[in-house]
Protein backbone atom coordinates (compact mmCIF):
# COMPACT_ATOMS: atom_id res chain seq x y z
CA UNK A 1 0.00 0.00 0.00
CA UNK A 2 2.78 2.34 0.85
CA UNK A 3 4.42 1.50 -2.50
CA UNK A 4 1.19 2.36 -4.26
CA UNK A 5 1.04 5.73 -2.59
CA UNK A 6 4.65 6.41 -3.38
CA UNK A 7 4.16 5.69 -7.06
CA UNK A 8 1.09 7.88 -6.96
CA UNK A 9 3.26 10.64 -5.59
CA UNK A 10 5.83 10.11 -8.27
CA UNK A 11 3.32 10.25 -11.07
CA UNK A 12 1.85 13.36 -9.58
CA UNK A 13 5.23 14.95 -9.75
CA UNK A 14 5.77 13.81 -13.30
CA UNK A 15 2.52 15.51 -14.18
CA UNK A 16 4.27 18.73 -13.36
CA UNK A 17 2.71 19.43 -10.02
CA UNK A 18 4.92 20.78 -7.31
CA UNK A 19 5.77 19.09 -4.11
CA UNK A 20 3.29 21.40 -2.46
CA UNK A 21 0.36 20.10 -4.44
CA UNK A 22 1.40 16.50 -4.24
CA UNK A 23 1.93 16.75 -0.52
CA UNK A 24 -1.43 18.25 0.20
CA UNK A 25 -3.14 15.40 -1.63
CA UNK A 26 -1.23 12.50 -0.20
CA UNK A 27 -0.10 13.92 3.07
CA UNK A 28 -3.17 12.81 4.93
CA UNK A 29 -2.26 9.19 4.36
CA UNK A 30 1.25 8.52 3.24
CA UNK A 31 3.14 11.12 5.21
CA UNK A 32 1.41 11.10 8.52
CA UNK A 33 1.23 7.51 9.69
CA UNK A 34 4.86 6.45 9.51
CA UNK A 35 5.77 9.93 10.74
CA UNK A 36 3.79 9.50 13.92
CA UNK A 37 5.32 6.10 14.55
CA UNK A 38 8.79 7.42 13.85
CA UNK A 39 8.27 10.32 16.19
CA UNK A 40 7.03 8.04 18.94
CA UNK A 41 10.06 5.78 18.45
CA UNK A 42 12.37 8.77 18.63
CA UNK A 43 10.57 9.89 21.70
CA UNK A 44 11.18 6.77 23.73
CA UNK A 45 14.49 5.79 22.15
CA UNK A 46 16.78 7.32 24.73
CA UNK A 47 14.89 6.28 27.87
CA UNK A 48 14.55 2.75 26.55
CA UNK A 49 18.24 2.61 25.68
CA UNK A 50 19.16 3.82 29.15
CA UNK A 51 16.93 1.27 30.79
CA UNK A 52 18.42 -1.48 28.67
CA UNK A 53 21.97 -0.39 29.49
CA UNK A 54 21.11 -0.27 33.17
CA UNK A 55 19.59 -3.74 33.12
CA UNK A 56 22.53 -5.07 31.12
CA UNK A 57 25.01 -3.55 33.56
CA UNK A 58 23.22 -5.44 36.28
CA UNK A 59 23.09 -8.74 34.35
CA UNK A 60 26.78 -8.47 33.60
CA UNK A 61 27.50 -7.85 37.25
CA UNK A 62 28.77 -4.32 36.92
CA UNK A 63 26.45 -2.89 39.52
CA UNK A 64 25.52 -4.52 42.77
CA UNK A 65 21.79 -4.48 43.35
CA UNK A 66 22.31 -3.35 46.92
CA UNK A 67 23.62 -0.10 45.53
CA UNK A 68 21.46 0.26 42.44
CA UNK A 69 18.75 -2.33 41.90
CA UNK A 70 18.05 -3.25 38.27
CA UNK A 71 14.99 -1.91 36.42
CA UNK A 72 13.21 -5.21 36.85
CA UNK A 73 13.45 -4.93 40.59
CA UNK A 74 12.45 -1.29 40.56
CA UNK A 75 9.55 -2.30 38.36
CA UNK A 76 8.53 -4.89 40.90
CA UNK A 77 8.73 -2.37 43.74
CA UNK A 78 6.65 -0.06 41.61
CA UNK A 79 4.00 -2.68 41.04
CA UNK A 80 3.97 -3.62 44.73
CA UNK A 81 3.62 -0.04 45.86
CA UNK A 82 0.96 0.59 43.26
CA UNK A 83 -0.94 -2.57 44.08
CA UNK A 84 -1.03 -1.74 47.78
CA UNK A 85 -2.38 1.67 46.90
CA UNK A 86 0.44 3.32 48.85
CA UNK A 87 1.98 4.86 45.78
CA UNK A 88 -1.21 6.63 44.84
CA UNK A 89 -1.73 7.82 48.37
CA UNK A 90 1.78 9.29 48.46
CA UNK A 91 1.33 10.71 45.00
CA UNK A 92 -2.02 12.24 45.79
CA UNK A 93 -0.75 13.87 48.96
CA UNK A 94 2.35 15.32 47.33
CA UNK A 95 0.48 16.40 44.23
CA UNK A 96 -1.94 18.34 46.37
CA UNK A 97 0.88 20.03 48.26
CA UNK A 98 2.76 20.87 45.11
CA UNK A 99 -0.32 22.22 43.39
CA UNK A 100 -1.25 24.28 46.42
CA UNK A 101 2.22 25.72 46.84
CA UNK A 102 2.50 26.33 43.13
CA UNK A 103 -0.92 27.92 42.89
CA UNK A 104 -0.17 30.30 45.73
CA UNK A 105 3.21 31.07 44.20
CA UNK A 106 1.52 31.87 40.90
CA UNK A 107 -1.17 33.95 42.57
CA UNK A 108 1.43 35.96 44.47
CA UNK A 109 4.24 35.85 41.95
CA UNK A 110 2.37 36.99 38.87
CA UNK A 111 0.83 40.18 40.27
CA UNK A 112 3.99 40.96 42.22
CA UNK A 113 6.12 40.34 39.16
CA UNK A 114 3.88 42.53 37.05
CA UNK A 115 4.00 45.22 39.68
CA UNK A 116 7.77 45.09 39.98
CA UNK A 117 8.18 44.96 36.21
CA UNK A 118 6.04 48.05 35.79
CA UNK A 119 7.12 50.13 38.73
CA UNK A 120 10.69 51.14 39.40
CA UNK A 121 9.68 52.10 42.92
CA UNK A 122 8.23 48.72 43.76
CA UNK A 123 11.28 47.16 42.17
CA UNK A 124 13.66 49.09 44.39
CA UNK A 125 11.52 48.46 47.42
CA UNK A 126 11.42 44.70 47.02
CA UNK A 127 14.67 43.95 45.22
CA UNK A 128 16.88 43.37 48.22
CA UNK A 129 14.39 41.17 50.05
CA UNK A 130 13.60 39.17 46.93
CA UNK A 131 17.20 38.69 45.92
CA UNK A 132 18.30 37.79 49.41
CA UNK A 133 15.52 35.29 49.92
CA UNK A 134 15.73 33.73 46.48
CA UNK A 135 18.82 31.51 46.80
CA UNK A 136 18.15 30.25 50.33
CA UNK A 137 17.81 26.47 50.31
CA UNK A 138 14.36 25.17 51.25
CA UNK A 139 15.74 22.93 53.98
CA UNK A 140 17.10 25.97 55.75
CA UNK A 141 13.58 27.34 55.89
CA UNK A 142 12.25 24.35 57.83
CA UNK A 143 12.78 25.76 61.34
CA UNK A 144 11.05 28.99 60.39
CA UNK A 145 8.32 27.15 58.56
CA UNK A 146 7.65 25.10 61.68
CA UNK A 147 7.63 28.26 63.77
CA UNK A 148 5.30 30.21 61.52
CA UNK A 149 3.05 27.56 60.11
CA UNK A 150 3.31 24.65 62.49
CA UNK A 151 3.72 21.07 61.48
CA UNK A 152 0.52 20.79 59.52
CA UNK A 153 0.09 21.22 55.80
CA UNK A 154 0.73 24.96 55.85
CA UNK A 155 4.42 24.64 56.62
CA UNK A 156 4.96 22.15 53.83
CA UNK A 157 3.03 24.24 51.36
CA UNK A 158 5.09 27.24 52.43
CA UNK A 159 8.35 25.49 51.58
CA UNK A 160 7.02 24.54 48.16
CA UNK A 161 5.66 28.02 47.65
CA UNK A 162 9.10 29.49 48.37
CA UNK A 163 10.68 27.25 45.79
CA UNK A 164 8.11 27.98 43.10
CA UNK A 165 7.65 31.70 43.47
CA UNK A 166 11.08 32.95 42.47
CA UNK A 167 11.31 31.44 39.00
CA UNK A 168 7.81 32.78 38.35
CA UNK A 169 8.76 36.17 39.70
CA UNK A 170 12.05 36.47 37.82
CA UNK A 171 10.61 35.33 34.51
CA UNK A 172 7.59 37.59 34.84
CA UNK A 173 9.70 40.63 35.65
CA UNK A 174 12.14 39.90 32.85
CA UNK A 175 9.30 39.23 30.45
CA UNK A 176 7.71 42.56 31.24
CA UNK A 177 11.03 44.33 30.91
CA UNK A 178 11.19 42.99 27.37
CA UNK A 179 7.98 44.71 26.36
CA UNK A 180 8.49 46.30 22.96
CA UNK A 181 8.99 50.00 23.57
CA UNK A 182 7.10 50.77 20.38
CA UNK A 183 4.03 49.25 21.93
CA UNK A 184 4.64 51.22 25.10
CA UNK A 185 4.80 54.40 23.06
CA UNK A 186 1.57 53.48 21.32
CA UNK A 187 -0.13 52.95 24.66
CA UNK A 188 1.15 56.30 25.90
CA UNK A 189 -0.06 58.09 22.82
CA UNK A 190 -3.50 56.54 23.18
CA UNK A 191 -3.46 57.14 26.94
CA UNK A 192 -4.86 53.70 27.53
CA UNK A 193 -5.87 52.83 31.05
CA UNK A 194 -3.42 51.09 33.35
CA UNK A 195 -5.64 48.05 33.28
CA UNK A 196 -5.71 47.86 29.50
CA UNK A 197 -1.98 48.56 29.34
CA UNK A 198 -1.32 45.57 31.54
CA UNK A 199 -3.89 43.25 30.00
CA UNK A 200 -3.38 44.09 26.35
CA UNK A 201 0.19 45.32 26.03
CA UNK A 202 2.38 44.00 28.77
CA UNK A 203 0.93 40.62 29.58
CA UNK A 204 0.47 39.21 26.08
CA UNK A 205 4.04 40.17 25.25
CA UNK A 206 5.39 38.71 28.44
CA UNK A 207 3.20 35.63 28.22
CA UNK A 208 5.81 33.31 26.72
CA UNK A 209 8.25 34.26 29.48
CA UNK A 210 5.58 33.92 32.11
CA UNK A 211 4.77 30.44 30.87
CA UNK A 212 8.46 29.55 31.03
CA UNK A 213 8.52 30.87 34.57
CA UNK A 214 5.49 28.81 35.51
CA UNK A 215 7.07 25.70 34.09
CA UNK A 216 10.37 26.25 35.87
CA UNK A 217 8.46 27.19 39.02
CA UNK A 218 6.57 23.94 38.86
CA UNK A 219 9.83 22.10 38.48
CA UNK A 220 11.32 23.79 41.54
CA UNK A 221 8.09 23.13 43.46
CA UNK A 222 8.65 19.42 42.92
CA UNK A 223 12.31 19.80 43.80
CA UNK A 224 11.25 21.15 47.17
CA UNK A 225 8.80 18.39 47.95
CA UNK A 226 11.38 16.37 49.85
CA UNK A 227 12.39 19.32 52.00
CA UNK A 228 8.74 20.12 52.62
CA UNK A 229 7.92 16.59 53.66
CA UNK A 230 10.77 16.55 56.14
CA UNK A 231 8.31 18.48 58.28
CA UNK A 232 6.33 15.89 60.16
CA UNK A 233 4.99 14.11 57.14
CA UNK A 234 3.82 10.56 57.11
CA UNK A 235 2.95 10.39 53.46
CA UNK A 236 3.92 11.99 50.21
CA UNK A 237 6.49 11.11 47.60
CA UNK A 238 9.17 13.13 49.39
CA UNK A 239 8.42 11.23 52.55
CA UNK A 240 8.48 7.96 50.62
CA UNK A 241 11.91 8.78 49.22
CA UNK A 242 13.42 9.90 52.51
CA UNK A 243 11.86 7.06 54.44
CA UNK A 244 13.01 4.48 51.95
CA UNK A 245 16.43 6.02 52.05
CA UNK A 246 16.57 5.78 55.84
CA UNK A 247 15.69 2.13 55.42
CA UNK A 248 18.13 1.70 52.53
CA UNK A 249 15.36 0.58 50.22
CA UNK A 250 16.89 1.94 47.07
CA UNK A 251 14.26 0.38 44.84
CA UNK A 252 11.59 2.43 46.59
CA UNK A 253 13.76 5.53 46.39
CA UNK A 254 13.89 5.02 42.64
CA UNK A 255 10.16 4.42 42.42
CA UNK A 256 9.67 7.72 44.22
CA UNK A 257 12.07 9.52 41.92
CA UNK A 258 10.50 8.15 38.78
CA UNK A 259 6.99 8.92 39.99
CA UNK A 260 7.96 12.51 40.69
CA UNK A 261 9.58 12.66 37.27
CA UNK A 262 6.46 11.35 35.60
CA UNK A 263 4.21 13.77 37.48
CA UNK A 264 6.50 16.63 36.57
CA UNK A 265 6.38 15.67 32.94
CA UNK A 266 2.60 15.35 33.02
CA UNK A 267 2.06 18.76 34.56
CA UNK A 268 4.56 20.23 32.13
CA UNK A 269 2.49 18.86 29.28
CA UNK A 270 -0.59 20.49 30.78
CA UNK A 271 1.17 23.84 31.06
CA UNK A 272 2.45 23.62 27.52
CA UNK A 273 -1.01 22.86 26.23
CA UNK A 274 -2.28 25.89 28.12
CA UNK A 275 0.45 27.97 26.53
CA UNK A 276 -0.52 26.83 23.05
CA UNK A 277 -4.10 27.77 23.76
CA UNK A 278 -3.14 31.19 25.03
CA UNK A 279 -0.71 32.09 22.28
CA UNK A 280 -2.51 31.59 19.02
CA UNK A 281 -1.59 34.86 17.41
CA UNK A 282 1.99 33.96 16.73
CA UNK A 283 3.56 31.74 14.16
CA UNK A 284 6.39 30.60 16.37
CA UNK A 285 9.61 29.11 15.25
CA UNK A 286 9.74 25.54 16.38
CA UNK A 287 13.05 24.23 15.15
CA UNK A 288 13.61 22.36 11.94
Amino acid sequence: MSAELASDARSAQRAGLTAGAARSRLGALAGVLPGVLGRAALYVALPVALLAAWQAAFELGYIRPILLPPPTRVGKAFVDLAASGDLFRHLGVSLLRVLEGFAIAALVGLPLGIGIGLSRTLDRLTDLIVQLTKPIPPIAWIPLAILWFGIGEAGKVYIIFLGAIFPILVNTIDGIRQTDHRHVELARVLEVTRRRFILQVVLPGALPNIMTGLRVGLMVAWICVVAAELIAASSGLGYLIMDARQMSQTDQVLVGMITIGAMGKLLDVVLRAAERRLITWKSTFSGS
Partner: protein, 277 residues
Protein backbone atom coordinates in the same frame (compact mmCIF):
# COMPACT_ATOMS: atom_id res chain seq x y z
CA UNK B 1 -11.89 80.59 -0.63
CA UNK B 2 -14.62 78.27 -1.71
CA UNK B 3 -12.95 75.50 0.22
CA UNK B 4 -12.67 77.54 3.37
CA UNK B 5 -16.33 78.44 3.24
CA UNK B 6 -17.41 74.88 2.70
CA UNK B 7 -15.23 73.79 5.50
CA UNK B 8 -16.46 76.36 7.95
CA UNK B 9 -20.01 75.30 7.25
CA UNK B 10 -19.30 71.65 7.84
CA UNK B 11 -17.32 72.24 10.97
CA UNK B 12 -19.59 74.37 13.05
CA UNK B 13 -20.13 71.99 15.91
CA UNK B 14 -16.42 71.17 16.07
CA UNK B 15 -15.29 74.79 15.96
CA UNK B 16 -13.97 74.84 19.51
CA UNK B 17 -11.89 71.74 19.02
CA UNK B 18 -9.25 73.24 16.74
CA UNK B 19 -5.83 73.11 18.38
CA UNK B 20 -2.98 75.34 17.34
CA UNK B 21 0.63 74.39 17.54
CA UNK B 22 3.64 76.63 17.89
CA UNK B 23 7.02 75.09 17.31
CA UNK B 24 10.37 76.67 17.73
CA UNK B 25 13.07 77.41 17.99
CA UNK B 26 13.56 73.67 18.20
CA UNK B 27 16.74 71.57 17.91
CA UNK B 28 17.39 67.97 18.63
CA UNK B 29 20.59 65.91 18.53
CA UNK B 30 21.13 62.20 18.82
CA UNK B 31 24.40 60.53 19.72
CA UNK B 32 25.47 57.70 17.52
CA UNK B 33 28.16 55.12 18.00
CA UNK B 34 30.44 55.22 14.99
CA UNK B 35 33.31 53.11 16.24
CA UNK B 36 34.36 50.95 19.13
CA UNK B 37 34.94 53.98 21.31
CA UNK B 38 33.87 56.84 19.09
CA UNK B 39 30.51 58.50 19.22
CA UNK B 40 29.20 61.13 16.92
CA UNK B 41 26.30 63.48 17.35
CA UNK B 42 23.63 63.57 14.68
CA UNK B 43 21.89 66.89 14.45
CA UNK B 44 18.41 65.59 13.66
CA UNK B 45 16.66 68.95 13.89
CA UNK B 46 18.11 72.42 13.90
CA UNK B 47 16.31 75.65 14.60
CA UNK B 48 12.92 74.51 13.42
CA UNK B 49 10.21 77.16 13.62
CA UNK B 50 6.70 76.38 12.53
CA UNK B 51 3.30 77.76 13.47
CA UNK B 52 0.35 75.57 12.77
CA UNK B 53 -2.94 77.45 13.22
CA UNK B 54 -5.77 75.44 14.74
CA UNK B 55 -7.61 73.38 12.15
CA UNK B 56 -5.06 73.79 9.39
CA UNK B 57 -3.49 71.08 7.31
CA UNK B 58 0.32 71.11 6.99
CA UNK B 59 2.17 68.73 4.70
CA UNK B 60 5.83 68.06 5.32
CA UNK B 61 8.13 66.66 2.66
CA UNK B 62 11.84 66.09 2.90
CA UNK B 63 14.50 63.60 2.13
CA UNK B 64 14.94 60.37 4.02
CA UNK B 65 16.49 60.90 7.46
CA UNK B 66 15.95 64.65 7.58
CA UNK B 67 14.09 64.50 10.89
CA UNK B 68 10.42 64.40 9.92
CA UNK B 69 9.56 61.52 12.20
CA UNK B 70 11.60 63.05 14.99
CA UNK B 71 9.62 66.26 14.68
CA UNK B 72 6.32 64.38 14.84
CA UNK B 73 7.55 62.40 17.84
CA UNK B 74 8.39 65.60 19.65
CA UNK B 75 4.95 67.02 18.95
CA UNK B 76 3.40 63.76 20.07
CA UNK B 77 5.28 64.08 23.35
CA UNK B 78 7.31 60.93 22.88
CA UNK B 79 10.66 62.68 22.73
CA UNK B 80 11.18 65.02 25.64
CA UNK B 81 14.89 65.75 25.58
CA UNK B 82 15.35 68.51 23.04
CA UNK B 83 16.34 72.12 23.03
CA UNK B 84 13.68 74.69 22.44
CA UNK B 85 9.96 74.82 22.86
CA UNK B 86 6.84 73.28 21.46
CA UNK B 87 3.48 74.49 22.67
CA UNK B 88 -0.02 73.29 22.00
CA UNK B 89 -2.67 75.95 22.51
CA UNK B 90 -0.01 77.87 24.40
CA UNK B 91 0.88 75.14 26.87
CA UNK B 92 4.24 73.34 26.58
CA UNK B 93 3.91 69.71 25.62
CA UNK B 94 4.67 67.54 28.61
CA UNK B 95 4.00 64.10 27.22
CA UNK B 96 1.69 62.17 24.96
CA UNK B 97 -2.02 62.67 25.14
CA UNK B 98 -5.26 61.66 23.55
CA UNK B 99 -5.66 65.15 22.09
CA UNK B 100 -2.92 64.22 19.63
CA UNK B 101 -3.35 61.12 17.53
CA UNK B 102 -0.39 59.52 15.80
CA UNK B 103 -0.15 57.29 12.79
CA UNK B 104 3.34 55.88 13.13
CA UNK B 105 5.56 55.20 10.16
CA UNK B 106 5.31 51.48 10.92
CA UNK B 107 1.86 50.17 11.69
CA UNK B 108 2.55 49.18 15.34
CA UNK B 109 -0.40 46.86 15.56
CA UNK B 110 -0.47 44.65 18.62
CA UNK B 111 0.07 41.18 17.20
CA UNK B 112 -2.05 39.41 19.81
CA UNK B 113 -5.14 41.50 19.22
CA UNK B 114 -7.53 41.04 16.35
CA UNK B 115 -8.05 43.80 13.86
CA UNK B 116 -11.15 45.09 15.63
CA UNK B 117 -9.46 44.90 19.02
CA UNK B 118 -6.55 46.86 17.64
CA UNK B 119 -8.87 49.55 16.40
CA UNK B 120 -10.75 49.62 19.71
CA UNK B 121 -7.48 49.69 21.64
CA UNK B 122 -7.47 53.41 22.39
CA UNK B 123 -11.21 53.79 22.98
CA UNK B 124 -12.34 54.16 26.54
CA UNK B 125 -15.26 55.08 28.71
CA UNK B 126 -17.70 54.10 26.02
CA UNK B 127 -20.49 51.56 26.14
CA UNK B 128 -19.72 48.32 24.35
CA UNK B 129 -22.27 48.91 21.66
CA UNK B 130 -20.82 52.32 20.91
CA UNK B 131 -17.32 50.87 20.71
CA UNK B 132 -18.52 48.18 18.33
CA UNK B 133 -20.31 50.74 16.21
CA UNK B 134 -17.34 53.05 15.92
CA UNK B 135 -14.95 50.22 15.18
CA UNK B 136 -17.22 48.85 12.48
CA UNK B 137 -17.63 52.28 10.97
CA UNK B 138 -13.88 52.84 10.82
CA UNK B 139 -13.13 49.40 9.46
CA UNK B 140 -15.57 50.11 6.70
CA UNK B 141 -13.88 53.42 6.13
CA UNK B 142 -10.57 51.67 5.48
CA UNK B 143 -12.26 48.82 3.57
CA UNK B 144 -11.47 46.03 5.98
CA UNK B 145 -14.89 45.08 7.31
CA UNK B 146 -14.27 41.47 6.34
CA UNK B 147 -11.09 41.20 8.40
CA UNK B 148 -12.40 42.25 11.82
CA UNK B 149 -11.43 38.95 13.42
CA UNK B 150 -8.10 38.51 11.65
CA UNK B 151 -4.80 38.89 13.45
CA UNK B 152 -2.14 41.29 12.16
CA UNK B 153 0.14 38.53 10.87
CA UNK B 154 -2.66 37.53 8.52
CA UNK B 155 -2.81 40.93 6.87
CA UNK B 156 -0.93 42.31 3.92
CA UNK B 157 1.32 45.33 4.43
CA UNK B 158 -1.25 47.78 3.13
CA UNK B 159 -4.03 46.23 5.15
CA UNK B 160 -2.03 46.57 8.34
CA UNK B 161 -1.38 50.21 7.56
CA UNK B 162 -5.08 50.78 7.03
CA UNK B 163 -5.87 49.25 10.41
CA UNK B 164 -3.39 51.66 11.96
CA UNK B 165 -5.17 54.53 10.21
CA UNK B 166 -8.51 53.35 11.54
CA UNK B 167 -7.07 53.10 15.04
CA UNK B 168 -5.85 56.68 14.95
CA UNK B 169 -9.08 58.05 13.49
CA UNK B 170 -11.50 56.29 15.79
CA UNK B 171 -10.43 58.49 18.69
CA UNK B 172 -11.16 61.74 16.90
CA UNK B 173 -8.06 63.54 18.19
CA UNK B 174 -7.76 67.32 17.92
CA UNK B 175 -4.35 67.05 16.30
CA UNK B 176 -3.51 64.22 13.99
CA UNK B 177 0.14 63.46 13.26
CA UNK B 178 0.44 61.30 10.17
CA UNK B 179 3.84 59.80 9.39
CA UNK B 180 3.63 58.54 5.84
CA UNK B 181 0.25 56.99 6.48
CA UNK B 182 -0.35 55.88 2.90
CA UNK B 183 3.15 54.69 2.04
CA UNK B 184 2.14 51.06 1.66
CA UNK B 185 -1.07 51.70 -0.25
CA UNK B 186 -1.70 51.30 -3.93
CA UNK B 187 -2.65 54.34 -6.01
CA UNK B 188 -6.37 53.71 -5.83
CA UNK B 189 -6.63 52.97 -2.14
CA UNK B 190 -4.33 55.86 -1.46
CA UNK B 191 -6.61 58.31 -3.24
CA UNK B 192 -9.62 56.95 -1.42
CA UNK B 193 -7.86 57.36 1.90
CA UNK B 194 -6.82 60.90 1.01
CA UNK B 195 -10.45 61.73 0.36
CA UNK B 196 -11.45 60.26 3.68
CA UNK B 197 -8.81 62.22 5.56
CA UNK B 198 -9.98 65.40 3.88
CA UNK B 199 -13.58 64.64 4.76
CA UNK B 200 -12.69 64.05 8.41
CA UNK B 201 -10.54 67.15 8.52
CA UNK B 202 -13.38 69.26 7.20
CA UNK B 203 -15.98 67.70 9.45
CA UNK B 204 -13.96 67.77 12.66
CA UNK B 205 -11.55 70.66 12.16
CA UNK B 206 -8.71 68.36 13.19
CA UNK B 207 -5.31 70.01 12.96
CA UNK B 208 -3.40 67.78 10.57
CA UNK B 209 0.34 67.39 10.18
CA UNK B 210 1.16 64.99 7.40
CA UNK B 211 4.60 63.68 6.56
CA UNK B 212 4.67 62.25 3.09
CA UNK B 213 7.05 61.35 0.29
CA UNK B 214 4.44 61.91 -2.32
CA UNK B 215 4.64 65.53 -3.46
CA UNK B 216 1.37 65.18 -5.29
CA UNK B 217 -0.24 64.11 -2.03
CA UNK B 218 1.37 66.94 -0.11
CA UNK B 219 -0.07 69.51 -2.50
CA UNK B 220 -3.45 67.82 -2.81
CA UNK B 221 -4.02 67.78 0.95
CA UNK B 222 -2.08 70.60 2.56
CA UNK B 223 -2.93 74.22 3.28
CA UNK B 224 0.78 74.59 3.26
CA UNK B 225 3.67 72.40 2.19
CA UNK B 226 6.83 72.50 4.31
CA UNK B 227 9.98 71.33 2.58
CA UNK B 228 12.70 70.12 4.90
CA UNK B 229 16.32 69.49 4.06
CA UNK B 230 18.73 67.32 5.93
CA UNK B 231 22.04 67.28 7.85
CA UNK B 232 21.00 69.09 9.91
CA UNK B 233 17.22 68.86 9.53
CA UNK B 234 15.97 72.35 8.81
CA UNK B 235 12.98 73.92 7.15
CA UNK B 236 14.06 74.84 3.67
CA UNK B 237 10.90 76.41 2.39
CA UNK B 238 7.26 76.88 3.28
CA UNK B 239 4.84 77.01 0.36
CA UNK B 240 1.22 77.96 0.93
CA UNK B 241 -1.17 76.07 -1.33
CA UNK B 242 -3.69 78.67 -2.36
CA UNK B 243 -5.90 76.32 -4.32
CA UNK B 244 -9.61 75.85 -3.68
CA UNK B 245 -10.93 72.47 -2.60
CA UNK B 246 -11.81 70.01 -4.01
CA UNK B 247 -8.54 70.35 -5.83
CA UNK B 248 -8.00 69.23 -9.36
CA UNK B 249 -4.72 67.39 -9.69
CA UNK B 250 -4.53 68.19 -13.39
CA UNK B 251 -5.15 71.93 -13.04
CA UNK B 252 -2.25 74.07 -14.21
CA UNK B 253 -1.88 75.69 -10.76
CA UNK B 254 -1.62 72.34 -9.09
CA UNK B 255 0.99 71.14 -11.56
CA UNK B 256 2.94 74.35 -11.25
CA UNK B 257 3.06 74.07 -7.48
CA UNK B 258 4.10 70.46 -7.69
CA UNK B 259 6.88 71.41 -10.05
CA UNK B 260 8.04 74.14 -7.73
CA UNK B 261 8.29 71.76 -4.80
CA UNK B 262 10.11 69.26 -6.98
CA UNK B 263 12.59 71.90 -7.92
CA UNK B 264 12.95 73.01 -4.34
CA UNK B 265 13.54 69.47 -3.39
CA UNK B 266 15.87 68.48 -6.13
CA UNK B 267 18.21 71.44 -6.25
CA UNK B 268 19.62 70.32 -2.96
CA UNK B 269 21.40 67.52 -4.76
CA UNK B 270 23.18 67.82 -8.02
CA UNK B 271 21.27 65.29 -9.97
CA UNK B 272 23.34 63.09 -12.20
CA UNK B 273 20.36 62.60 -14.48
CA UNK B 274 17.56 64.60 -15.97
CA UNK B 275 14.24 64.39 -14.31
CA UNK B 276 11.12 65.99 -15.59
CA UNK B 277 7.72 65.73 -14.11
Amino acid sequence: MVATAARKAGADRAADRAASLRIGPLSKTFTLKTGPLRTETVQALSDIRLDVPGGSFVSIVGSSGCGKSTLLRIIAGLETSYDGSVTLDGRPIGGPGLDRGVIFQEHRLLPWLTVEQNVAFGLKNLPRAEVARRVREHLELVGLEGFAKAHPHQLSGGMAQRVAIARALVNQPRVLLLDEPFGALDALTRIQMQQEILRIWEAQRTTMILVTHDIDEAVFLGDEVVVMSSRPGTIRKRLPVGLPRPRDRSSPDFIALRKEIHREFFTAAELPFAYEI
